[in-house]
């Protein structure tokens, strides 16, 4: 089973990388872009015997304590079998 963790900057935090990417994408001719924010994505492979609830709890703890910095980042967890 797999836990997926998405880490993004908090909406209030400036994202210069996202801005640079947006600039490059617009240079390529893509129009109508309001904003690009970049982030990190983690795939955590877990033992099949772990229950969905435990998997989610573990992934959320990892996300909170290691994968994200609560000062600047938010996270979201998905679990799939």
């Amino acid at each position: 089973m797999k836990a997926k963790v998405y880490v993004t900057l908090k909406p209030s935090v400036l994202d210069p990388q996202g801005k640079a990417i947006q600039h490059s994408v617009e240079q390529l001719g893509f129009g109508g872009i309001e904003d690009i924010r970049q982030g990190k994505y983690f795939e955590i492979a877990l033992d099949e015997s772990v229950s969905d609830g435990d998997a989610r709890a573990a992934a959320e703890r990892m996300a909170r304590e290691v994968l994200s910095n609560p000062v600047i980042e938010d996270f979201r967890v998905e679990v799939e079998r």
Binding site: L14, P16, N69, V71, I72
Partner: protein, 226 residues
């Protein structure tokens, strides 16, 4: 006054810090491997610059889980002096020993250059031999030196005089142009509420350490269990 310089895997200013303390400050100093947990022999510990754990994930994020960091927290809680330089500053923020976080520089590039900083507070054991308003020319070398924190934290630090250094121009004015990385309020160094833990974004161990060492020599903190 006995110093410990912590070596994390990926530290690369560890030898500089060691050299400055032994040769320029003239105090006893030892390296402390990140897997060690006993800091009782030291009066002050330094978290040196470098790329601990490759700065993977976020600068300083993985080093904070090194075994030694639990001891550093206890050491700081007992009043021991803790100085984080460059990457060490990032580790202290990640570990929650200092408020805020250091993000990617605003121009996205690693920046290695000499900058000017203004001394904003002399009310720490690290800066009490300097004068408020002193200008220092120091090297920086970082990709993630862009200090940020929320409004409440910033207001609190301003109120409590905990912003120790700010980036400034040659005339001593804090301007947007003289801010090399986009740090909030041009912050280059801050301390904790107890004023015994300081993080500094420059890499100059020499100026910072010799000041710290001389200062702490005088105001030697009482260290229970040591």
């Amino acid at each position: 006054m006995k110093f410990g310089v912590i070596i994390f895997p990926g530290s690369n200013c560890d030898h500089d810090a060691y050299h400055v303390i032994s040769k320029h400050v003239g105090q006893p100093v030892s390296f402390v491997w990140h897997k060690e947990t006993d800091l009782s022999a030291y009066d002050a510990v330094i978290l040196p610059g470098g790329f601990s754990y490759g700065d993977y994930l976020r600068a300083g994020a993985l080093a904070r889980f090194s075994p030694v960091m639990r001891s550093v927290k206890e050491f700081a809680a007992r009043g021991g002096l803790v100085l984080g330089i460059c990457n060490g500053f990032q580790i202290l923020c990640e570990a929650g020993l200092l408020p805020g976080a250091l993000m990617r520089n605003r121009d996205l590039h690693f920046r290695c250059e000499h900058v000017r900083v203004r001394v904003e507070s002399v009310d720490t054991p690290f800066t009490n031999e300097l004068s408020r308003g002193d200008l220092l020319s120091l090297p920086i070398a970082h990709a993630e030196g862009n200090y940020t924190c929320d409004d409440a934290t910033l207001a609190e630090m301003q109120r409590e005089d905990r912003i120790i250094f700010r980036y400034c121009d040659a005339a001593g004015d804090v301007t947007d142009e003289s801010n090399p990385n986009g740090s909030r309020d041009s912050v280059a160094g801050v301390c904790n509420r107890a004023r015994n833990v300081m993080g500094f974004a420059a890499i100059s161990p020499r100026k910072c350490l010799s000041v710290a060492a001389r200062a702490s020599e005088r105001s030697r903190p009482p260290l229970p269990n040591s």
